[in-house]
C-alpha cells in the first residue's frame, strides 16, 4: 500500500512538472529561510549554556532608584564580591571580572594594542567551563603577574612555540608570565576575552575603587548545589547597605532604595538590559525572528495547500475511485500526507543546497560565526528533518482532509463539490499570504527609516572631519607634547581630549548635590572628563557662562582639595532650575566646584534614550583616553600623512592608529541595522514565495476557465477584457490583504517605536509603497498567465471540453 502511495506521489510530481516546480521551490525557499532563522535562534538561545555549573552561576545586577524611576545596572562595586562571599552562606564563591582597556602588549619584537585583556579572580577557571590545554586551572591565576591566553593569542605572539613560562610585557612595564593556555573559546559564549590576568592588577593600575557606592565591575556568584537562590537577593542588598559609606552624600541611608539581585547566567545574554525602563533585549529579536520564520514557512505551506486543493477536480476521479474500491478516509489522508512528505523531502534536498550557497552572506548579515561544518552537525540534521516533517504536515494536512472528504459518487458525477464555496478558503489563504508579506515589507522599510532618522538627526554636535586617536596605556603622558607639536599645523582647527568619545558618554552617578536641592530629587547624571577646548572641538555652543580656560587655574580638577570647575548641559541646568546658575557650587562624583558654563544639549548617547543631564570636568592629560582632532574640510589623505609624520617624530615606535567619529557612529545602531538587513532578506524570500504561489494559482485558474474564456470570446469579448477580469480577481485579494495588514503593522510599529526616545513618524508611504509593490507584483504574475489564456483559440477549447 505504502508503495502504491509513493508511486503515485512520485509519478504525480514528475508528470505535473510546473506545479511540482512551484511547490518544491516554494517549500525549499520556505525551509531554507526557516532553517536560517532556526540556526540563528538556536545560536542565540544556546549562549552561555555550555558551562557545567551554568544552573548555579548568576551575575549580580541591581535596580537603582532615581526619583521613582528604576535604573538597571549590570555592574557592581569592586569590594562587594568578596564581602558577599564572606557573609552570604548560599554563595560558594564569587568571581569579579573587568576589562583593562587596550594595553600595549609585547613579546620580543612583537607589539600590539590588545583590547581583550580581562582581570578576573583566580576562581574564574573553576566557576566557568573554559578548559585549559596547558596549565592548572586551580592555580593558573593565583600568582600576581600570571597570564592565561587563548590559542589565537599564543599563535600571534609565540607561533608554534610552547607559550608556558614565556613573559609578556603589558603597558611597557608589567612583566606577566604565561601560566595557562586555553582551549579555543566556544562560539556561543558572550564572555569573550583574549587574555586573563589576576584581578589584583586593577589595584596596580589604580583602577580599583575601594568604595561600595561606585559600580564598575561584573561580579558573578556561584551558589552551592542545594542552595535556594530566593533569599539571596535581599542578603546581597543588605550586605551593601551595611558597608556603603554615606558620608559626603546627601542621601539618608534609609532612603537608599537600590536592590541587588541574582540574574541567571543562562538568561544573561538574551535578557540583558541596561538603563531606565525595561527594554526587552535580545529575547525580543529572537521572538520576532522566530515568528518571521514561522510566517515564511506558512506562506510556503499555503502555496502547497492552494495548489493541491485547486487542482482537486483533477484528483476527484481518483479519490472517488479509491473510495468505490474500498479505501477508507484515513487511508486517503495518509496517501495525501505521503505526497506532501515526498514533496517536502525533495524541497529539503534543494534547501540544503540553498543554505550551503547562502551561508556566507548570512554569516555577514547576521554577524554570527557559523561555519559550513554546521551542515554536518547532528542538531542541524535533526532540525532539518524536523523542519521538513513539520512543513509536510502543515502543508499537507488541509489538502488531505479536504480531498479525502470527497464523496465517492463524485466519480460518477465528476463533481467533487469544489465549486460550491470551498474556493473561499483558498482566497483567505492568499489574503493571509499578502497580509504577512506587506507586514514584513512595511516593518523592514520602517526599521531602516528609523535607523536613518537616528543617524541623520542633528546630534547637537558636529561629527564631520572629527578624527580621534586612542591614547593606549601610557600614551596619554605624551598627549601634551603631541598637542604642542601639531599646534602650528594649518590643517587642524581644534585639538582636545577626553575619557569618552562624544557619541558615547557611558559613565554616570547619582551623587549630585547643590545648595537648596530638594532632598527628594535624585537625578542620575552622566559624567565625563575632558581637556580644554572640548566644547569648541565638538562645536557645541556655550549658552551661558564660559568654557574651561587656562586663565582660571581653579577650573582644573585638584585632587588634593577634590575641587574643580564644571560645564553642565542644558538638561541639568533645567533640573537645577536656578537663574543664577553660573558660579554656584555643585558637589558631584566626589568633586566640589563652581558651574563655569552651560553648554547646549547634544546627543552623547544613542537616540534610544533621552539626553540625560551631564557634567564635564576638566582633568589633566594623565586621565585622557582619546585625543580628538578637528581637521579642516578638504582632502584627508595628505592631512593624515602630515599628522603621521608629526606623530612619529614625537612618539617614535608607537603606531599611529586613527578613526573618524562619523565612521564609528554607525556602530551605535549596528543592532538595528543588522536586524533590518536580516529582515530585508527574509522579506524578499517571503515575497518570492508568495509570488510563486500566485503564478501557480493563476495559471491553474486560467486553465480551469478555458471554457469560460472560450465562451466569452465566442460572444465577442476582447483579449484585454479577459485579462482584466482575471487580474481583478486577484487584485481584490491583494487589496484585502493590504487592508488587513495595515492596522496590525501600524500597531506593531507603534509599539516598537516606544523603545526609542527620538523617533520618526509613521508616514503613509511606509504602508502605501509595500501595497503598491504587492499589487504590481501580483498584477504582473497574474497577467502573464491571463494573457496566455486569453490567446487560446475558442474553437479548440470548446471542442476539447
Amino acid at each position: 500500500m505504502l508503495n502504491n502511495y509513493l508511486l503515485i506521489a512520485i509519478r504525480n510530481l514528475i508528470r505535473q512538472k510546473g506545479y511540482s516546480f512551484i511547490n518544491i521551490i516554494g517549500l525549499a525557499l520556505g525551509i531554507s529561510a526557516a532553517m536560517f532563522i532556526f540556526i540563528w535562534v538556536a545560536d542565540e538561545v544556546s549562549m552561555n549554556r555550555f558551562h557545567l555549573n551554568t544552573d548555579r552561576i548568576y551575575r549580580v545586577e541591581q535596580d537603582q532608584d532615581y526619583d521613582g524611576k528604576t535604573y538597571h545596572v549590570n555592574v557592581t562595586p569592586y569590594p562587594s564580591g568578596e564581602g558577599w562571599k564572606k557573609e552570604i552562606p548560599e554563595i560558594e564563591t564569587t568571581v569579579r571580572a573587568t576589562q583593562t582597556g587596550a594595553l600595549l602588549t609585547k613579546y620580543g619584537e612583537k607589539a600590539f594594542y590588545e583590547n581583550g585583556i580581562a582581570c578576573v579572580d583566580s576562581t574564574f577557571l573553576q566557576v566557568f567551563t573554559f578548559p585549559l590545554l596547558k596549565g592548572d586551572p586551580n592555580t593558573a591565576l593565583r600568582e600576581p603577574y600570571s597570564i592565561v591566553l587563548t590559542p589565537e593569542m599564543a599563535l600571534k605572539y609565540f607561533g608554534t612555540d610552547d607559550p608556558i613560562g614565556k613573559v609578556i610585557i603589558l603597558d611597557n612595564k608589567y612583566n606577566f608570565k604565561v601560566t595557562g593556555l586555553l582551549k579555543k573559546l566556544p562560539v556561543n559564549t558572550s564572555l569573550r576575552f583574549d587574555f586573563l590576568i589576576p584581578f589584583d592588577f586593577t589595584r596596580t593600575t589604580g583602577a580599583y575603587v575601594d568604595h561600595w557606592g561606585s559600580n564598575n565591575i561584573y561580579t558573578f556568584a556561584m551558589l552551592y548545589k542545594e542552595a535556594d537562590p530566593g533569599p539571596v537577593d535581599s542578603k546581597l542588598t543588605e550586605c551593601v547597605r551595611n558597608n556603603i559609606d554615606f558620608t559626603g552624600s546627601d542621601r539618608d541611608p534609609s532612603q537608599w532604595k537600590t536592590k541587588f539581585m541574582l540574574a541567571p547566567l543562562k538568561k544573561m545574554y538574551l535578557h540583558e538590559y541596561f538603563g531606565f525602563g525595561h527594554p526587552a533585549g535580545r529575547i525580543q529579536r529572537v521572538i520576532i525572528f522566530s515568528m518571521i520564520g514561522i510566517f515564511i514557512l506558512l506562506i510556503a505551506a499555503i502555496n502547497y495547500m492552494n495548489l493541491s486543493t485547486a487542482r482537486s477536480s483533477r484528483r476527484s476521479r481518483e479519490i472517488g475511485l479509491r473510495k468505490a474500491f474500498g479505501s477508507r478516509r484515513g487511508q486517503l489522508i495518509m496517501q495525501f500526507l505521503g505526497e506532501s512528505v515526498v514533496t517536502s523531502i525533495a524541497a529539503m534536498v534543494i534547501s540544503v543546497v540553498i543554505i550551503g550557497l547562502l551561508l556566507d552572506p548570512f554569516r555577514l548579515v547576521s554577524g554570527k560565526q557559523i561555519s559550513a561544518d554546521i551542515l554536518l552537525t547532528g542538531n542541524f540534521i535533526l532540525g532539518m528533518i524536523g523542519m521538513t516533517l513539520i512543513t509536510a504536515i502543515i502543508a499537507g494536512i488541509y489538502p488531505s482532509l479536504y480531498l479525502s472528504g470527497f464523496k465517492p459518487m463524485a466519480i460518477l458525477t465528476g463533481d467533487p463539490g469544489d465549486s460550491k464555496g470551498k474556493g473561499w478558503f483558498r482566497k483567505v489563504l492568499v489574503v493571509f499570504q499578502f497580509s504577512i508579506s506587506i507586514f514584513l515589507i512595511s516593518s523592514t522599510l520602517f526599521i531602516f527609516r528609523q535607523v536613518s532618522y537616528m543617524q541623520n538627526r542633528d546630534l547637537g554636535y558636529n561629527q564631520k572631519d572629527l578624527l580621534y586617536v586612542r591614547l593606549f596605556g601610557d600614551l596619554n603622558t605624551r598627549y601634551s607634547a603631541l598637542k604642542q607639536a601639531i599646534k602650528g599645523n594649518p590643517d587642524i582647527i581644534t585639538v582636545s581630549a577626553g575619557i569618552h568619545l562624544p557619541m558615547n558618554i557611558g559613565s554616570n552617578s547619582g551623587s549630585i548635590s547643590w545648595d537648596g536641592k530638594s532632598p527628594d530629587l535624585h537625578p542620575l547624571v552622566s559624567v565625563s572628563r575632558v581637556d580644554y577646548n572640548y566644547s569648541a572641538l565638538i562645536q557645541v555652543p556655550i549658552i551661558a557662562g564660559r568654557d574651561f580656560s587656562e586663565e582660571f587655574s581653579s577650573d582644573m580638577y585638584n585632587p588634593e582639595t577634590s575641587s574643580g570647575g564644571m560645564l553642565i548641559n542644558e538638561s541639568l541646568a533645567k533640573i537645577i532650575g536656578r537663574e543664577d546658575i553660573i558660579g554656584m557650587n555643585i558637589s558631584f562624583s566626589g568633586v566640589t566646584g563652581p558651574v563655569v558654563g552651560v553648554i547646549r544639549d547634544f546627543h552623547f548617547l544613542s537616540m534610544r534614550t533621552e539626553i540625560p543631564p551631564l557634567v564635564l570636568f576638566l582633568f589633566p592629560e594623565s586621565r585622557m583616553r582619546y585625543m580628538m582632532i578637528r581637521l579642516r574640510p578638504g582632502e584627508r589623505g595628505p592631512m593624515i600623512e602630515k599628522l603621521r609624520t608629526t606623530w612619529n617624530s614625537v612618539i617614535p615606535g608607537y603606531p599611529f592608529e586613527y578613526s573618524f567619529i562619523e565612521d564609528d557612529y554607525d556602530q551605535v545602531y549596528q543592532n538595528e541595522t543588522r536586524s533590518g538587513s536580516l529582515m530585508a532578506y527574509f522579506t524578499v524570500m517571503a515575497i518570492l514565495i508568495a509570488c510563486l504561489g500566485l503564478i501557480g494559482l493563476s495559471s491553474f485558474m486560467a486553465e480551469r476557465r478555458t471554457r469560460e474564456i472560450a465562451v466569452r470570446k465566442t460572444f465577442g469579448s476582447s483579449n484585454w477584457e479577459i485579462v482584466l477580469s482575471m487580474v481583478t480577481q486577484f487584485t481584490k485579494l491583494v487589496l484585502t490583504g493590504v487592508a488587513i495588514a495595515i492596522p496590525f503593522t501600524w500597531y506593531y510599529l507603534h509599539e516598537w517605536l516606544k523603545d526609542y526616545a527620538y523617533r520618526t513618524t509613521l508616514s503613509w508611504w511606509v504602508f502605501v509603497l509595500p501595497a503598491l509593490l504587492a499589487l504590481a507584483l501580483a498584477t504582473l504574475m497574474v497577467s502573464l498567465q491571463a494573457i496566455r489564456a486569453s490567446k487560446t483559440n475558442p474553437a479548440v477549447s470548446l471542442r476539447h471540453q
Binding site: N4, G326, S327, M409
Partner: protein, 223 residues
C-alpha cells in the same frame, strides 16, 4: 441479492430540491444480468450510486445480501463495498499515474490481500481478459477498448458478488463495445451478478431483464 423498497433520493441546493429517484422498488436476484434504461436525467446513475453503496438514500430501504444497509455509515458501506461490489464506468476511470497491473491490483490493496496472492490474482485476471501483454503500459498508452478491458479486470479481480456498470460502452466504437459486452456476458455466465446502466438497446439485449426509469420513477420491467 439486492432489493430496494420505495428507494428515494432527493438532492437539495440552497434554492432547488430535485427528486432524482422516487420510491423505486426492485429486486435483483443472484446471478442476474439487469440493464437499467431511460432518458438522460431519469435517475439511472443515482440508482447505480445507491445500489453501489456510494451514497445513502433519502428514504426507503436498501437490502444487500439480506442486510438492511440504507442507514449504514460511510465506514460500514466501505467495508461492505470493497469485498462485494466491482465498478465499471463509461469513462473507464483508470488512475493515470498507475500502469495496467497497478490499476487492476488496486482493489486488492484495500482488501488487504497478501502480496503473493495479489500478484497471482491480478495475473490470472489479466490472462483471462487477454491484457497481460500490456501490463507495464499506462492508461494514456492504451486504446479505449483496452482501457475498458483493464477497468473490467479491476472490477472483477476481487471476485465480487455484483458488478455495477455505468454505460460501459458509451465511449467505445461498436467493435470494442461488442467486445466489452461479450466480456460482461461471459462474467455473468460464470455467476457474477451485473447491473448495467445503458442507453443502447443493443447492449441492453445482452441482459436478462430491462428496467426502465422515467423522471425518477420505475416505469417498466421486461424479462
Amino acid at each position: 441479492m439486492i432489493q430496494t423498497i420505495e428507494l428515494t433520493k432527493v438532492f437539495r441546493t440552497d434554492e432547488v430540491e430535485t427528486t432524482a429517484l422516487n420510491k423505486v422498488s426492485l429486486w435483483i436476484k443472484k446471478g442476474e444480468f439487469a440493464a437499467i434504461m431511460g432518458p438522460s436525467g431519469c435517475g439511472k446513475s443515482t440508482l447505480l450510486t445507491l445500489l453501489g453503496l456510494l451514497d445513502n438514500p433519502t428514504s426507503g430501504q436498501l437490502i444487500f445480501d439480506g442486510k438492511e444497509v440504507s442507514k449504514y455509515s460511510e465506514k460500514q458501506r466501505t467495508l461492505l463495498r470493497k469485498s462485494n461490489i466491482g465498478f465499471v464506468f463509461q469513462s473507464f476511470n483508470l488512475i493515470d499515474e498507475l500502469n495496467v497491473f497497478e490499476n487492476i491490483e488496486l482493489p486488492l490493496l484495500y482488501q488487504k490481500v497478501p502480496v503473493a496472492n495479489r500478484k497471482k490474482m491480478t495475473e490470472e485476471v489479466m490472462e483471462r481478459m487477454s491484457i497481460s501483454h500490456r501490463r507495464k503500459h499506462f492508461p494514456q498508452q492504451l486504446s479505449g477498448g483496452q482501457q475498458q478491458r483493464v477497468a473490467i479486470c479491476r472490477a472483477v479481480v476481487g471476485n465480487p458478488l455484483l458488478i455495477l456498470a455505468d454505460e460501459p460502452t458509451g465511449n467505445l466504437d461498436s467493435a470494442n463495445g461488442e467486445d466489452v459486452m461479450n466480456l460482461l456476458k461471459q462474467l455473468n455466465s460464470e455467476g457474477t451478478s451485473i447491473v448495467m446502466v445503458t442507453h443502447s438497446p443493443k447492449d441492453a439485449s445482452y441482459a436478462g431483464r430491462i428496467i426502465k426509469l422515467f423522471d425518477g420513477h420505475l416505469v417498466a420491467e421486461t424479462e
